[in-house]
């Protein structure tokens, strides 16, 4: 159980970092398109700073959303033939998609995470969620194999 919680927290952390990276990189991508003198070392430095600043906001959101959607995935995989990897991946993707569209709805149209403003941004959020869910489902599958 402790291992499962640790994996859950680790995946929430990885997903959070990827979301932060997507936001930072989308900002830098626009600066590059606008001919600003962006360097690789500058991106890495700012990415590191952003992770330190944003984790306190992003991690709790991801934690709560993943918790809700993974619990739903657990129920679905228990009572259907859908395998765990697919169930958790789908719910992770759905959770992150809902973050990308739900925050602006709750905040009166304002995008708190600016990386989600575009269609591509929303797709990237969803893919990151799918990835996180897939990792968690794969871990559960492996754990099941080890115990059997």
């Amino acid at each position: 159980m402790i291992k499962r919680i640790s994996i859950f927290l680790g995946i929430a952390f990885i997903v959070s970092v990827l979301i932060i990276a997507q936001t930072t990189l989308s900002n830098f991508l626009w600066l590059i398109q606008a001919d600003m003198p962006v360097t690789l070392s500058l991106i890495i430095t700012k990415l590191f700073e952003d992770v330190l600043r944003m984790l306190v906001i992003v991690f709790p959101i991801i934690f709560i959303v993943n918790l809700i959607f993974f619990l739903v995935a657990m129920m679905v995989s228990k009572y259907t033939s859908l395998d765990k990897k697919r169930a958790y991946a789908l719910s992770g993707g759905l959770g992150l998609f809902l973050i990308s569209v739900g925050i602006p709805i709750l905040a009166g149209g304002i995008y708190g995470l600016t990386g989600a403003r575009s269609v591509l941004g929303k797709i990237t959020f969803t893919v990151i969620g799918l990835f996180g869910g897939f990792l968690f489902g794969r871990h559960l599958d492996r754990a099941k194999l080890e115990t059997s």
Binding site: T23, N27, L31, D50, R53, M54, I110, T114
Partner: protein, 369 residues
């Protein structure tokens, strides 16, 4: 022992300076002249004893002989009261005494898509306490998806043209750098809505030709210097980076290519604070003070203040006096114990009026002791 004395001295000095900034009212009185206002945004004197006050919720209230009347101005256009939007600024035509024309800025919902809104400016004739001949002279292009960052401040220049601040719409900050839209721009039009021939961009469509300056975020303060030679503009930054700028036609003020702030989420918007071709503010604030209004003191009751810039702010809320000279900008915090302030205005009798924010708001008069 010596270190301990130095430490004690440091504590005393720190405590004294803190007291100074919080109760810097030793040379002026603050009196409430009206209360019970609902989200007031701006005010204007239509005579020495009559004030019109806009409320974001959509009404224009009347203060006559120091009393807030129950009746409101009639025939005020409908506005969208949502988010940061609502009925906003009110200014008089430079020839108001002769023509009784006033100008209003407000946010308006799209006629068919309720998710969209924009900034609109109208002119109207004041007949008694009724608006007549209401006529649109500006509508920001395009509509925005969030009711935020409208700007909405109005200022007549000495040549009779009208400046309008149009914010970046929050979700469209990058468009502040493009000249094909009104996001993050200052607009200059004539009093009938036509485009002045001496605007900086003479080619292109009407949107581009109406642009005076670009690269702004959410500009909520505009004022002329005492000799009317310079236009000062104040704008909200994100987390940090509120700016005081001097406006010059066609200048690009950099948002969001350069900024002294970061995003509310903590993300880097731009690592650059300055860049060739992009204007620097003459002052910026980190952390943010959320500047909501600005005026140049033109009265005689405070001779030392004449020509100084006064800024109302919402975080933590207060009134600041700025003395601008060739040596730089000196800042004094005059008030920081009245909560969020929405605006600061000259009164014809030489006093200053400040407006508090949100529900059950008040208008205060600042007069010499």
């Amino acid at each position: 022992m010596k270190n301990f004395k130095v430490f004690l001295l440091f504590l005393v000095v720190s405590f004294s300076s803190s007291i100074f900034t919080k109760n810097n009212s030793h040379y002026f009185n603050i009196n409430v002249i009206a209360e019970g206002l609902d989200h007031p945004w701006s005010l204007v004197f239509i005579s020495d004893d009559e004030i019109l006050v806009t409320e974001k919720t959509g009404k224009i209230r009347i203060i006559k002989n120091g009393k807030l009347l129950d009746e409101a101005l009639k025939n005020v256009p409908n506005s969208l009261f949502a988010g940061q939007g609502g009925l906003s600024d009110i200014v008089l035509h430079p020839e108001f005494k002769n023509n009784r024309i006033i100008f209003l800025s407000f946010s308006e919902i799209h006629p068919t898509n309720k998710r969209l809104s924009t900034l609109r400016v109208v002119r109207a004739k004041l007949n008694g306490y009724t608006l007549e001949d209401v006529e649109e002279i500006f509508k920001a292009d395009p509509y925005r998806t969030a009711p935020a960052h409208f700007g909405a401040r109005l200022l007549f220049l000495k040549d009779g043209s009208l400046l309008i601040t149009s914010g970046d719409g929050f979700n469209f900050r990058e468009k502040a750098q493009d000249l094909d839209n009104h996001f993050g721009k200052v607009i200059r039009i004539n009093d009938d809505g036509s485009i002045p021939e001496d605007n900086p961009y003479t080619n292109g469509d009407i949107t581009k030709r109406s642009i005076y300056t670009s690269g702004h975020r959410n500009q909520q303060g505009l004022t002329l210097s005492l000799d009317n030679s310079q236009v000062y503009l104040i704008e909200h930054g994100p987390r940090g980076g509120d700016e005081l700028n001097i406006l010059e036609p066609s200048n690009n003020y950099g948002w969001p290519l350069i900024t002294y702030g970061i995003d509310y989420s903590g993300a880097t918007i731009s690592p650059f604070k300055e860049m060739e071709g992009l204007e620097q503010p003459i002052k910026y604030w980190v952390p943010s003070i959320a500047p909501s209004g600005m005026t140049t003191y033109r009265g005689d009751k405070f001779p030392d203040w004449k020509g100084d810039i006064f800024i109302s702010s919402m975080i933590p809320g207060g009134l600041r006096r700025l003395k601008i000279s060739e040596q730089g900008v000196e800042e004094e915090i005059l008030i920081d114990n009245l909560g969020r302030l929405r605006g600061v205005h000259n009164s014809p009798d030489g006093n200053l009026l400040i407006i508090s924010d949100r529900r059950n708001a008040k208008i205060y008069k600042i007069s010499p002791k």
